[in-house]
């Protein structure tokens, strides 16, 4: 199983029936594929609606996702303006947001919007989402392409938001951050705590109930 699929499958287990969810671009958009049968969630799209669905058939005027790509709408979808969209996001009306990350640190800080001197795309809606969603899940590959840890004692890149990350899910490990404590709660099948330590540059506690990720 590829890393992205492992991560998406594990993230899906965090959703509950009836949740309002905002998914970042890239890997997070894979998550709905792995929802348990019968579970219904509503996807929020920051450009102004609830009820995002996959595109079926021809693109329709004005129906695009937050990446500007044609998409579909669920029956019962609702459209609104950007102020309402971000009132939902900032006001705690989005149950979960799942975003990719460049770096996360042991204080629950996330950096995912710029690399000074290299990539300055702008924060778009990311800062509001990470600040306002009820639960922030970072879904990312454990290390960079060069093999460098992304989970650090302290983010070195400019932050998206401070102390807002509740969970970090990678292909190797699942961490929970509660009351400022960074705790390993699961590792990948076949991996050990030492494997996780070797690829993680943050201090973390190991849960008494440490489990192997269930990817079934």
């Amino acid at each position: 199983m590829q890393a992205k699929e492992v991560i998406a499958r594990r993230v899906a287990q965090e959703f509950q029936d009836g949740y309002v969810v905002n998914l970042g671009i890239g890997l997070p958009t894979l998550v709905p594929r792995y929802l348990p049968a019968g579970m219904f969630i509503t996807l929020q799209s920051e450009n102004g609606f609830l009820g995002l669905a996959p595109l079926e058939g021809e693109p329709l005027p004005g129906v695009v996702n937050a990446g500007g790509q044609p998409c579909g709408l669920m029956p019962g979808a609702a459209m609104f303006d950007s102020a309402m969209s971000f009132a939902l996001i900032r006001g705690g009306h989005v149950d979960v947001t799942v975003l990719g990350g460049l770096q996360v640190d042991e204080e629950g800080n996330l950096a995912n919007w710029m690399v000074p001197g290299k990539m300055v795309p702008g924060m778009g809606g990311a800062m509001d989402l990470v600040t306002g969603a009820r639960k922030v899940i970072v879904a990312m590959e454990h290390c960079t392409k060069e093999g460098e840890p992304r989970i650090l004692d302290r983010c070195t890149l400019p932050l998206t938001a401070k102390g807002r990350v509740a969970m970090v899910i990678t292909e190797l490990a699942v961490f929970r951050i509660t009351h400022g404590e960074f705790v390993l709660i699961e590792h990948a099948p076949g991996a050990t705590v030492e494997d996780v330590r070797a690829k993680t540059k943050a201090r973390f506690a190991v849960s008494d109930e440490l489990k192997t990720m269930n990817l079934g």
Partner: protein, 220 residues
Amino acid sequence: MALDKQVDWSDVGPLFRDGISVMFGGFMGVGTPDGLVSVLREQGTKNLTLIGNDTAAPETGIGPLISDGHVKKVIVSHIGTNPVTGKKMIAGELDVDLVPQGTLAERIRCGGAGLGGVLTPTGVGTVVEEGKAKMVVDGKTFLVELPLRADVAILKAKRADRAGNLVYERAARNFNPIMALAADLVIAEVDEIVDIGEIDPDHVMTPAALVDKIVLARRQ
């Protein structure tokens, strides 16, 4: 009888001057009035300050205005989909002020709603807080974000009546309704113009009182 606000395309050009600030509706170009962008471009308007969500792509939305050098400054949440914006920023040809999207929406709303600013938690503990006042309310820290207004707002709507009541289409609504509040001159490019009374009052998304001019979109 209410005023008929429909104007011809030939009346639009003189409404724009060099150096003005322009709010533009749209998200990645969806909900951006392409005809009004073309007017700004064709008449060679210079030194614009553009305020909107993003700079789309080099050939979509307001992208062409940046590509052709009509713009001195942008106040946006995202430039990542338009490499020309980044190049001009690095070359010192374009001033880029990045604002979190929700903060941008609220600053525009404040500018049009008579408010002196808004308190938001977004950006606390990040570079966004630099140089800004903070307030603590019930133990929680907020940034004081100030109102934004513009000389002109250019909007895109699906339908208008002759008085200027507007209805938007799907996700093309985005920033358009709040920008209708926050500019001295509000011009809407619309796909369809109907008689007064044909739009159900419950369906009006932007009231005519906010809209100064409407112009019928040219067929694509």
